[in-house]
Assembly symmetry: C2
Homo-oligomer: 258 residues x 2
C-alpha cells in the first residue's frame, strides 16, 4: 500500500508516453479490447479505465478488466471517484488503482479521507490486502469551469499562483506518487504543468488529460513537463482507429526512448 | 473511521481541561489505575496512554487498558508512534486512538502514510473495523531540539512564520480532528499556539504538552488558545498526589465550565 509497486516502477521508467483512457460505462467491452490491443501495439505502457460516473461497478468491471487482460499484457489502471461508506471502487483483477486526492475539493472526504474509508472497508468488500491492486497515490487537480466534477466531488478549479505554490508544497510534503491534472471543459494550462514540474519531486509523475484531440497538444503537454498525456473522448467515435493513428503516429514511440 | 465519534464529541464539549498522560512502559499498572481514579475525580474528560518507545505492545496494553477501564469511566486514548509494516499500535479495548501525522517529519511514512499502513494491516492484526477504537486524526507538531523524536520519527522541530502558515493551511485542508503540539526539551511557544488557534477551523482541537510542571503553565497554554494541556512526567514521582493537586487544584474544574 505504501511501497512502490511494479506499475509505478513501470510508469517511472516509461515517461513521455500518451495513454488512452477508456470509460467502461460508455465504451462496449469488445471495443475496449480492440483499443487495448491497438495501444499496446503503439507501445503505450498502460491502459486507464476511468469515469466520473458509474453504477453497479463490480458487476461490469470484473468482466471488463478480465476481457482486457485476456487480450493484452498492458497493466490496467482504474481511476474512479470514491463514494462515502465504500471509498474507491475497485476489482481485484486490475493491476493498479489510482486513489485521487482532490486537493481542490471543498469536502475533506474527497480531499483525502476517502483513502481511509477505502482501506477500512476493503476487507468487508472481500478484498484482502493481498488481493488489492497496487495503489497509486494521486493528487488530482482540476482546471476550468466544471460543474460535473463540482456536483460529484465538490472540486473547485485550481487557479492563482499562491494556490499553486501551496499545492506544490502539499504534494511534496505528502509525497504523492503522481499528480493528475484534468480539465473537462478546456485544457490544463501549460504554465501550471511547468510550474508543478519544477516544484515537485523528480520522481513524482505528472499526468495531464482533458480536451486532448491532436498530437500537437500531446507534444505541447510533454514540452510543459507532463510525463503522461491521457486522451479519452477523442476515441469515442466509430473511426477511432484513424484518430488514434493521428494522435499517436506509429513509430513515434515513447518520448523517453526517442 | 472518518465520522465523528463519541470521544471526539466529548473532547469538543469539554475544552479547557488539563489531561494526564501516562506512559504504560514506565508507570506500573496499579499506579496508573490510581492516577486514573484521581484525575476522574478532578473532572478530567479523558486519560491518555502514550510513549515514544514501546515493545511487546499488545501483551502489556490489553491488560493495562482493561485495568484502567475497570476502575474509571474516563475514555482511554492511545497515542503512540507507528512502525513500518504495522502502523499505529492499538488494542481494541481502548476508546480511541490518536493517529499522529507528523507534518514536520522528513519521512513521508511518519508524515501520513502510516495511516494507510495501519488501515491496511488492521484485519491481519485481528482488529476488524467494528473492533477498532475511534480514530482521532491528529496533526502532530514538535518544538525545540529533540533528538529522541528525530531518531524515532525523523521529525524536525517546527520553526519560522512561513512554515507555520503553511502548516495551518495544510491542517485546514486535511481537516484533522485535532493538532497536538509537543516539546520534549522546552515548551511549546505560546505565540505558535495562538497563531494556530486563529488559523485553523474552530472545531479543530489543540492539545499542548511537554514540560508542564505548574498550574501557571497550564493556564498560560489555555490563554494561548489550547483546548487541552497534557502533563506526563510531572506525575512520575512518588508524591504525585501532591503534584496533581497543585497542577489541578480541586474545584477549579474545566475552564469551559467556569
Amino acid at each position: 500500500m505504501i511501497r512502490t509497486g511494479p506499475v509505478l516502477e513501470l510508469l517511472r521508467s516509461r515517461r513521455g508516453s500518451p495513454v488512452h483512457i477508456v470509460d467502461p460505462f460508455k465504451v462496449p467491452m469488445a471495443e475496449a479490447v480492440e483499443k487495448a490491443i491497438a495501444v499496446e501495439r503503439l507501445g503505450h505502457p498502460a491502459l486507464i479505465l476511468a469515469s466520473t460516473d458509474y453504477s453497479r461497478f463490480d458487476d461490469l468491471m470484473s468482466a471488463y478488466v478480465a476481457a482486457v487482460k485476456d487480450a493484452v499484457h498492458l497493466p490496467v489502471i482504474l481511476h474512479f471517484p470514491p463514494r462515502q461508506g465504500v471509498g474507491f471502487p475497485l476489482v481485484a483483477a486490475a493491476d493498479a488503482v489510482m486513489f485521487p486526492a482532490l486537493l481542490g475539493s471543498e469536502d475533506d472526504y474527497f480531499v483525502w479521507k476517502s483513502y481511509l474509508d477505502t482501506l477500512a472497508s476493503l476487507h468487508r468488500r472481500g478484498i484482502g490486502p493481498d488481493r488489492c491492486p497496487e495503489v497509486l497515490l494521486s493528487a488530482a487537480l482540476t482546471f476550468g469551469p466544471d460543474e460535473v466534477t463540482y456536483d460529484a466531488l465538490r472540486a473547485l478549479p485550481i487557479s492563482g499562483a499562491a494556490t499553486l505554490r501551496f499545492l506544490a508544497e502539499v504534494i511534496r510534503l505528502l509525497r504523492f506518487d503522481l499528480i493528475y491534472l484534468y480539465s473537462r471543459s478546456a485544457e490544463v494550462p501549460p504554465h501550471v504543468c511547468r510550474f508543478l514540474r519544477e516544484n515537485i519531486y523528480p520522481e513524482q509523475l505528472i499526468f495531464v488529460s482533458g480536451g486532448i484531440r491532436s498530437d500537437e497538444q500531446i507534444n505541447a503537454c510533454f514540452d510543459a513537463g507532463a510525463d503522461y498525456v491521457g486522451f479519452a473522448g477523442a476515441l469515442e467515435r466509430a473511426d477511432w482507429r484513424v484518430v488514434l493513428n493521428t494522435l499517436c503516429p506509429a513509430g513515434a514511440g515513447a518520448r523517453a526512448a526517442s
